[in-house]
Subunit: 132 residues, 4 copies
Amino acid sequence: MDTKKNFNDKETTIQELKDIIKKFVVEREWTEYHTPKNLSMSIAIEAAELMEKFQFVTSEESFEIAQKHKQEVAHELVDVLGYVLNFANACNIDLSSYCVEKITLNEKKYPIEVAKGSYGKYTKIGANARKK
Amino acid sequence: MDTKKNFNDKETTIQELKDIIKKFVVEREWTEYHTPKNLSMSIAIEAAELMEKFQFVTSEESFEIAQKHKQEVAHELVDVLGYVLNFANACNIDLSSYCVEKITLNEKKYPIEVAKGSYGKYTKIGANARKK
Amino acid sequence: MDTKKNFNDKETTIQELKDIIKKFVVEREWTEYHTPKNLSMSIAIEAAELMEKFQFVTSEESFEIAQKHKQEVAHELVDVLGYVLNFANACNIDLSSYCVEKITLNEKKYPIEVAKGSYGKYTKIGANARKK
Amino acid sequence: MDTKKNFNDKETTIQELKDIIKKFVVEREWTEYHTPKNLSMSIAIEAAELMEKFQFVTSEESFEIAQKHKQEVAHELVDVLGYVLNFANACNIDLSSYCVEKITLNEKKYPIEVAKGSYGKYTKIGANARKK
């Protein structure tokens, strides 16, 4: 990988990350294992590994863990991202356009004035629950 | 959202997507629910919803589903991505730099000549299994 | 644990397994960590560890893995079961009665003649799909 | 199903639940979809649905939800259990014996005096962390 370039979120496009991960996979001839079914499992598996970091702590303590063990937590997070990019590569999905499309739908589904501070939609139990 | 702009992976930076999703969350005052613990659960939940599309089909059939129902599948995928971005926002994680850092580590962990075509590392059973 | 007794599915009640796992948790003073939220995470994490065994193999190959590595696979499976039992203990849930209640509901939801051989309900895409 | 019989954890054996779920699956000719790979996905998917109930609440609030919506929560829990039983049926796994075997291993791995009140083993970060 071109380690001379400094990668950061402000200057890196989604396509650049997609290309980096694609090269990694193609070089190892792993493409054939990257079916949508398998990759959806991979995303879920990596998500569980991230979750494991916070399994028996409170939500407050989870911030401490994320701070103290930032690199370890970030590596688990980018493992999820990596498989999301692999999935997008395998299925020719433009993440940016679909991401914006989905958020636009969510803006209508959760109008600001109704959704404000409510976590009702989240729990799917007690849809009218309001923040205490 | 600025719907005039056309978003696509070639021109969209990670930071732009992060900012779009942050605005959505802040406007609804949902930030306080976005703890690392909760967001790790959200990522896993959305990952499972993606996986559900491919639950009882073969890997080959999963490509058909991803093609025929591309928008639906893409929306599930960007739901995962959205929470990855939320997690990165909540914990101040630069995804691009950690992603590249992790892939660089993986390049060493899985040297091309050893890893080529092998799925041994994946299953974690039979680490020396080779492609048939 | 009373290792003199031979445990097997034909002679072991759900309550016996619940009691065994409860004793293990209470002795270690882990009860306070066993909230429904935390235990739901634990179940998902253990489920992902089971899934990891079959991540990049075909469905057919997954039977070979389950056979060749039966103990390892079984241990992952009972890790899931263990947390299901912990959850039931924490929330005072009678698994047998709810299990039978849910299956009775499913019998109505998926009448034999309609559901036979169809995996439509599974994928939730193409609800009328029939086995080829 | 024999609805005359009252099922409860004290009187119901694992085998009885296995048989009930097997009959349900066989009658619908769903056995062929029940490969270890697919069933591991199903367990993870159902686990995520349970988790979704507690996604944005505190651990304390999760007890309230589990109490107020006991039937709904219990149905999600037995959905997980159902697929665990299906997996055991598909792979001929005796859950009781492996469950006891695994707990016996865990008793050695987490000796009471060392493990007491510690959640270190859980987070896998800070293995020596002690309860405050």
